[in-house]
């Protein structure tokens, strides 16, 4: 029996040892701050020498809720290089990085502002290098617009109305861009989203997104000098984004109710106080460049159970649709979920982000003004908003 004993030992010990080795091989290590470095998207060329043109742009990736994966990428025209996650490179000491769910990024007089929705804050950075300056805490903040020395930021988290549904009105916060302090609040309707400044007034799109059985229909008009609501204009249900054009007309998109009511794009003319035009367009993301409004959307059909990417160009003075679908390179067809559009005002290049399946990293597509394909680049998760950097803001 002694023989069996030793055999058993010989058989077990090396086996246990092998298993232990295997296990010890893949141990933990300290987690490094993310430094992905720059890369050149295939087909991207340095293009530094255009006068008055942007020298680069920042792209804000949303990241899914609870993942803490909001991030900022940067494209540099002077080198043609795309750098992912430039925020952690510029701010490796920022505890828990940029935050959870990035909604919008805007450059205003040398500073880069990013709304981080589920981190309940607005992050303020230097536009030149993305270095952090500070933050201002605004619960459930959504979108922003600037006027003079103030930032106006919409938030869902206003006063609570104790009724059957325990409703909560939204508000617009007035933030001093120097001190980053909130100086005043103006209560609007339920779940305000897009916001724009025009002619001394703020235009705020109320969505009512938390009340699917009772969506909001109004655009709140706020007089900036008194910071009070002047009136509410009824447009359509579940309003989303707002853009003010050079003539003072206000372009507002409506999401519809996802069932019977289709998405719309409304043009409200404050001078005549009427809806000057209305289009059956899903304009989930809009960008005004020159006299043209570019929009993308992705409409879902319950009949086919699929989403269809949409693209439009609208002449804002004639108020006509110049182009109702994409007429450029076939690469547009590879975009699964167009999420954000931006147009370089000088070069005319059109940038469209693809959120893909909203879980995995998305793509940024670059097209020339004529619609021909230039390049594409992997972004972070859910690329959501773009801000161009001009030489004067980068000093």
């Amino acid at each position: 029996m002694q023989k069996i004993k030793t055999t058993a030992i010989y058989r077990t010990v090396p086996l246990l040892f092998a298993a232990a080795c295997l296990i010890m091989q893949s141990c933990r290590h300290d987690v490094m701050v993310d430094f992905p470095g720059g890369q050149k998207p295939g087909g991207a060329e340095p293009d530094p020498s255009v006068p008055d043109a942007p020298i680069g742009f920042y792209l804000l990736n949303q990241g899914n809720m609870g993942m803490n994966k909001a991030s900022i990428d940067y494209y540099d025209y002077t080198t043609g290089e795309y750098t992912r996650n430039i925020y952690t490179q510029a701010n490796p000491d920022a505890v828990m990085a940029l935050g959870d769910v990035g909604n919008q990024i805007v450059i205003h007089s040398d500073r880069l502002w990013a709304i981080i929705n589920c981190s309940n804050k607005v992050e303020v950075m230097q536009a030149s290098d993305c270095r952090r300056i500070g933050q201002t805490d605004i619960p459930n903040c959504r979108y922003m617009a600037f006027d003079g020395d103030y930032a106006y930021i919409s938030s869902y988290a206003g006063p609570v109305i104790i009724d059957d549904d325990y409703d909560q009105l939204g508000y617009v916060a007035k933030i001093n861009t120097t001190t980053l302090r909130e100086e005043a609040r103006c209560i609007v309707r339920f779940q305000p989203d897009g916001i724009a400044v025009s002619g001394g007034r703020l235009y705020v799109a109320n969505s009512g997104g938390y009340r699917p059985n009772n969506y909001e229909k109004t655009l709140s008009v706020i007089d900036i000098s008194t910071f009070t609501v002047e009136k509410e204009v009824e447009l359509g249900i579940n309003l989303n984004q707002v853009v003010a054009d050079a003539d003072g007309k206000i372009w507002v998109s409506s999401r519809g109710d996802y069932y019977d009511v289709e998405p719309h794009l409304y043009c409200y003319d404050p001078a005549s106080d009427r809806i000057a035009a209305s289009f059956d367009i899903d304009a989930s993301s809009m960008w005004l460049s020159g006299g043209t409004l570019y929009t993308v959307g992705n409409s879902f059909s319950y009949d086919t159970m699929t989403s269809t990417p949409m693209f439009s160009r609208i002449d804002t003075s004639a108020m006509t649709v110049e182009q109702s679908h994409w007429e450029g390179a076939e690469e547009f067809g590879q975009i699964k979920a167009p999420y954000c559009i931006a147009v370089d005002p000088v070069r005319g290049d059109i940038y469209i982000t693809d959120a893909g399946n909203y879980v995995n990293p998305g793509y940024l597509y670059a097209f020339a003004a004529d619609g021909s394909y230039k390049w594409r680049q992997r972004t972070g998760d859910v690329p959501a908003s773009i801000a161009f950097l001009y030489p004067e803001d980068a000093d």
Partner: protein, 686 residues
């Protein structure tokens, strides 16, 4: 669905059930081993599964540093626990990467259900009243089974303690008190009483209270290793208060036995939530109340026929509150009802050939305070025919079954208050073949086993009807498994080694029509469930167990479980353009390497146990890029106990020290797990 089709389907099931009542009985009693029979038997009957499962029982369970079923399941190969951390955090099990909805969890032989989302939180099932936990791949391939036993791709059986009386004593009592980190206070009591030779009963009650607070730390470094940032905080809103009361009756009748049990669980807990930038505390809360009554009756009918009846009635209440005014205010209540009945009949056709037919019926309803809720009702009819056959040293079991569900739900209420009633039925089939072969006739230690099985999981109520997100046109999600394995056991006499066992299994699984959430239109917060996922899994499970007695009175032993898995996302073949592509990427939270090692030593009245759990690197997304990387984690736990026999009772003192090296880790991204923690316990057995 038209009435004619319903009638056809019902007729079909009645025909399937017909032989049960035809009484074509030609058999001899078969010891079915199983989960229910041995109520008054001192030792458990032999396991008659064609392929044995992994088991933890009795002393082994007592020795582990485990508070609940989830803690114990971590020691099984092939099983991954999704753990949101702390005493109150949700803990679900995924076996061989097929998804937790494919795993049936059985409590004293009858499935625990959650028609709402299919999720069984194993963290809620305390080990206080449990005597055995078994995990079976494929199914518990025991012939005498309900249709539901065969309906899942893997099965976890939780068996509560059976009363055992020694020395003519008609009464047992066990009282224990545990306490420790996270403000844990956990008293429990168990009473057992023998009413007569043929009837005994037990009553078990347990109270748990914990504040759930623990320190956690996040840290990042520069490439040169110096600290970029380092932050420590206390986990908030992880408190839990729970009460469990369980009562059972175990009886014997002529040629049979029965068991009836009632279970009540009531809890109030905080949902600690994800830790993200600028948010260190969440305020969501959840209240649960679960009540069920279940029973089992087995009886021999003649020499070659045995019959089993199971039933269950369950009522579950869930209240979820999000009072956080920075988020959408939510205050919802849900009520679920389940009624289940099963009849199974096993006959011996020839001495080496048995067959079993089972027919199950189940009713599920769900209602809610949500506006315009679908209020779904589901009738499930299941039938399964299985048979085993032994020739020489080869035993085989095959089974085929079918499940049909009839759903009824209301359309969402919109503007005009008009609602439409929808009816829909779905049918799916399962089939499996299990073999076990002893290749060397004179050497019983070596076994070759294997199985192939195709199963499905029906879409849950949430998949189908959840406001906006549900998709009423979903089909069942399928899982196909192939497994082949070897096991070798050596039993020694007169050496210091007592026995040694090695088991190795290789497997390949395919999940198709996987139900996953896909975005709907142009918004991140609008999703829809779709049958589009595909996963292919290649895996290897290895287990080794040994026990030795190096000196008189000293017993030592150890157990090793190791799992290798490549679980690849085959959903979107077009997404393969660069390294960030998901095609063939390892799916979320499945480590390639994982394992557990436990070792124990018993010396006189002392018992010492050491356990090590290892989960290798993972990604939280099938895009396997550095941004989605999750660190490996591993914990070392120690338990020491001392048993003090007194004249009429026994006292036992236990001390546990878990996560000895104070590793700061996460199982799920942004859900920090507790560092070093301890528990002390004392129990009195009378």
């Amino acid at each position: 669905m038209n009435a004619k089709k319903v009638v056809t389907i019902i007729l079909f099931y009645l025909l399937m059930a017909y032989p049960l009542y035809a009484g074509a009985v030609v058999s001899e009693p078969v010891d079915s081993g199983g989960t229910m029979l041995d109520s008054l038997v001192v030792t458990a009957a032999p396991n008659q599964s064609t392929i044995a499962g992994q088991q933890l029982s009795g002393k082994e369970l007592d020795r582990l540093s485990a508070l609940n079923v989830a803690d114990a399941v971590r020691y099984f190969s092939g099983a991954q626990i999704k753990d949101y951390g702390g005493v109150g955090g949700v803990k679900t099990v995924d076996v061989r990467s097929m998804g937790s909805n494919h795993i049936g969890v059985f409590y004293d032989g009858i499935a625990l259900g959650n028609a709402q989302n299919g999720q069984i939180d194993l963290g809620r099932y305390s080990l206080d009243n449990v005597e055995q936990i078994s995990l079976y791949n494929g199914q518990k391939s025991e012939l005498f089974a309900t249709a539901k036993d065969l309906a899942s791709a893997g099965a976890l059986y939780i068996r509560t303690r059976r009363p055992r009386f020694s020395g003519g004593k008609p009464f047992n009592m066990h009282v224990s008190l545990r306490g420790g980190s996270f403000g844990l206070i956990n008293p429990s009591v168990r009473l057992e009483y023998r009413f007569s030779e043929s009837l005994s009963g037990s009553l078990s009650a347990e109270y748990t209270n914990a504040d759930g607070r623990y320190r956690f730390r996040y840290r990042r470094v520069y490439p040169d290793g110096s600290t970029a940032w380092d932050t420590t905080a206390v986990r908030q809103n992880g408190d839990v208060e729970a009460l469990r009361v369980e009562a059972a009756l175990f009886g014997r009748i002529t040629d049979g036995s029965y068991m009836v049990k009632g279970y009540f669980f009531d809890s109030d807990r905080g949902i600690p939530g994800a830790i993200v930038n600028n948010v260190w505390k969440n305020s969501q809360r959840q209240w649960d109340r679960n009540l069920f009554v279940q029973g089992n009756l087995r009886r021999r009918l003649g020499d070659r026929n045995e019959m089993m009846v199971n039933f269950k009635y369950a009522r579950d209440y869930l209240h979820y509150l999000n009072p956080d005014t920075t988020l959408m205010y939510t205050d919802n209540e849900f009520w679920q009802t389940e009624v289940y009945a099963s009849v199974a009949d096993m006959v011996e056709i020839l001495p080496d050939w048995h067959a079993n037919l089972a027919v199950d019926y189940q009713l599920n309803t769900l209602s809610s305070t949500l506006a315009g809720f679908a209020d779904p009702t589901r009738h499930t009819l299941m039938a399964a025919l299985s048979s085993n056959y032994t020739i020489g040293t080869l035993s085989m079991q095959g089974n085929a079954g079918t499940t049909t569900i009839f759903d009824r739900s209301w359309s969402p209420r919109r503007g005009d208050n008009h609602r439409t009633l929808y009816r829909r039925s779905r049918t799916a089939f399962v089939a499996g073949l299990f073999i076990n072969w002893q290749p060397l006739r004179d050497y019983a230690g070596l076994r070759v086993r294997g199985f192939a099985k195709r199963t499905f999981r029906m879409p849950t109520f949430n998949d189908l009807y959840y406001t906006d997100m549900g998709n009423a046109s979903l089909n069942p999600e399928y899982a196909t498994q192939y497994d082949i394995g070897l096991s070798q056991r050596w039993d020694f006499t007169s050496t210091i080694w007592r026995w040694l066992e090695l088991r190795l299994d290789g497997y390949h699984n395919r999940v198709s029509d996987k139900i996953i959430a896909v975005p709907k239109g142009n918004s991140q917060y609008r999703w829809m469930m779709m049958n589009i996922g595909k996963v292919r899994i290649w895996g290897l499970d290895f287990n080794a167990e040994a026990s030795a007695e190096p000196a008189a009175g000293l017993e030592i032993g150890g157990k090793l479980a190791y799992t290798w898995q490549r679980a690849m996302d085959y959903t979107d073949p077009a997404d393969c353009l660069d390294v960030a592509g998901t095609y063939k990427g390892q799916i979320a939270y499945i480590p390639e390497h994982s394992g557990a090692f436990t070792a124990f030593a018993n010396w006189r009245r002392w018992e010492l146990n050491y356990s090590f759990i290892y989960v290798g690197e993972r990604w939280h997304n099938s895009s396997n890029i550095p941004e989605n990387y999750e660190q490996p984690w591993y914990t070392h736990d120690m338990t020491l106990s001392y048993t003090l026999p007194l004249r009429r009772c026994t006292l036992r003192f236990t001390g546990e020290l878990n996560n000895l090296l104070n590793q700061q880790y996460e199982v799920i991204l942004n859900y920090p797990m507790p560092g070093r923690n301890w528990r002390l316990g004392v129990s009195l057995t009378l």
